[in-house]
């Protein structure tokens, strides 16, 4: 069965939120969530990187790594480069190249975003600091790229390119949502009296855990289990 857009959106933002349900991307969640303005900037940067990374990796997966089928062609096979068909459950170059080529794509994209931000929004660039280059190693970005290109409801080719990009966008929106919640909570925490042993990160982790518990309430929302 094909996956619809609404289903993808609700699935990635609420039901299986990348931060609170899959526990990916916890580093920026706690690192950049002290001020709402910074966390929104980080969230937007992540949305941008996730969308582009999802699209590019989906293209790469379908048309370069997977052996060609009736649905999609393989560029290497089309231009006559000897292409291995065996190896692994999916065949082709998937087993050999999937991870490393995705890393390459994400690293290049983050570099690009960094350059654009440095030129056009220097204040945000300074506020994000080390966390901007760290999007490269943000497991949520890698996670969404990998999940888009795994088995989706029996289709070994994963999500089609446009849906993969949409799923990446939605995963980013889910990330932004949680960042907003977290920064709101932490802005209030900064003003409140917290027991000494829990000040700083410990109470932030407790809050994140409670939020994750709350998000479990979305499980099987509208019967969606993505």
């Amino acid at each position: 069965m094909e996956v619809g857009y609404v289903e993808l959106a609700i699935g990635s933002i609420l039901v299986s939120n990348f931060v609170l349900m899959k526990f990916l991307g916890l580093c920026p969640l706690l690192g950049v969530s002290k001020r709402t303005s910074d966390s929104v900037g980080m969230g937007l940067a992540v949305i941008f990187v996730m969308t582009l990374a999802s699209a590019v990796t989906a293209v790469l997966y379908r048309h370069v790594l997977l052996p060609g089928t009736a649905e999609h062609t393989n560029i290497l096979q089309a231009i006559g480069i000897p292409f291995p068909t065996g190896g692994g459950p999916t065949g082709g170059l998937v087993l050999v190249l999937k991870t490393i080529s995705y890393i390459l794509v994400i690293a290049a994209l983050v570099q690009f975003v960094e350059m654009v931000l440095k030129k056009s929004v220097p204040a945000l660039y300074r506020a994000l600091g080390i966390y901007l280059p760290l999007i490269t190693t943000n497991c949520a970005v890698m996670g969404v790229a990998l999940l888009n290109t795994t088995d989706w409801r029996g289709s070994a080719a994963g999500l089609p390119v446009h849906k993969a990009a949409f799923n990446g966008f939605c995963a980013g929106v889910g990330f932004l949502l949680v960042m907003l919640f977290m920064s709101g909570i932490r802005e209030r925490l900064a003003e409140s009296r917290v027991p000494r042993a829990l000040q700083g990160l410990p109470i932030a982790f407790i809050c994140a855990g409670l939020m994750a518990l709350a998000f479990m309430g979305f499980t099987k929302l509208f019967g969606i289990a993505v």
Binding site: P82, L93, L104, M115, K119, E191
Partner: protein, 293 residues
């Protein structure tokens, strides 16, 4: 080996093409999005203490470094860095630095448990800013220290402590870098950043007439003008100013004061503090430590 060989060629080709494509895109992006940064800016940033305290008036060390390079700021504004930082920045910018005047935070209130009292019991957030929003705070003196230690918490250098005996914050002058964070958070504006080589300060902010001041605090300035009269400086370095003739507050003129301390001796309510002894001792101790080392 037989199994690996068929993958080797295409894998290398794919990775190579990807690398070349991304390299080209990034090179192009670098051309359009490059930001010209003065190399001196990096050097200045490294010379700064990176505390991002904001004492220079800019939003952090990076912003200050940028302002220096653009010629918008002087080289000697970094107070935590002290004279060494000012000198090294001057070297980078090729400018001579005039004498660097160290400063220190001074708490201008002596309203301790012994000298003043509370109007009501405050049971809210243990924060001066919150307390100040509740009927001007719980202290009898509307200008006085609320004593919840917001300045102590705010100090990025741990240079302040709450004195358990008096309930007032105390500045540890050897640690204080005069960054001004405490002065900024204090809702009563009691803390001031003042030159370290001036020893005499009026430690009161009460602007009310003498009678009203006397009712709420034993060491509040009553604007009797005795300090003005005993000051040996021509035209007096201490001035009692205020809106009404009897109301007022003495302030020491930092330019003309010779730190003789006569006003502090003469003050009938001991509202003027003399830091000479304290700073002399600190200096002596420092010298002794240096000699020992």
């Amino acid at each position: 080996m037989e199994e690996i060989l068929p993958y080797l060629g295409p894998a290398l080709a794919v990775l190579g093409v990807l690398a070349v494509v991304f390299g080209a895109v990034l090179a192009l992006a670098n051309r359009f999005f490059r930001v010209q940064v003065d190399p001196r800016q990096q050097e200045i940033e490294e010379a700064l203490p990176q505390t991002n305290c904001g004492a220079c008036g800019y939003g952090g060390c990076a912003a200050y470094a940028e302002a220096i390079v653009q010629g918008k700021a002087d080289c000697d504004l970094c107070l935590p860095g002290g004279p060494e930082t000012a000198c090294s920045i001057g070297e980078i910018m090729g400018k001579e630095i005039a004498e660097f005047k160290p400063k220190v935070a001074v708490v201008k209130c002596q309203g301790s448990f012994q000298t003043t009292f509370a109007r009501f019991r405050y049971v809210g957030e243990r924060d001066c800013r919150a307390a100040a929003a509740t009927q001007y705070g719980q202290t009898a003196c509307p200008y006085g220290c609320l004593g919840f230690g917001t300045c102590v918490w705010a100090c990025p250098f741990d240079a302040m402590v709450m004195d358990a005996e008096t309930g007032l914050p105390r500045v540890l002058e050897e640690k204080c870098t005069a960054c001004g964070t405490c002065a900024e958070v204090c809702p009563k504006n009691i803390i001031e950043i003042l030159p370290k080589d001036r020893y005499v300060h009026v430690l009161c902010r009460n602007q009310d007439p003498g009678r009203a001041t006397r009712q709420v605090c034993k060491v509040g300035c009553i604007a009797c003008r005795k300090c003005e009269k005993v000051c040996p400086v021509e035209g007096s370095a201490v001035h009692v100013t205020g809106n009404l003739a009897p109301a007022g507050l003495a302030a020491v003129d930092m330019e003309t004061c010779i730190s003789c301390g006569k006003c502090a001796q003469e003050c009938p309510v001991n509202a003027i503090g003399n830091f000479r002894k304290l700073r002399r001792e600190a200096k002596k101790q420092e010298a002794a430590e240096e000699a020992a080392a």
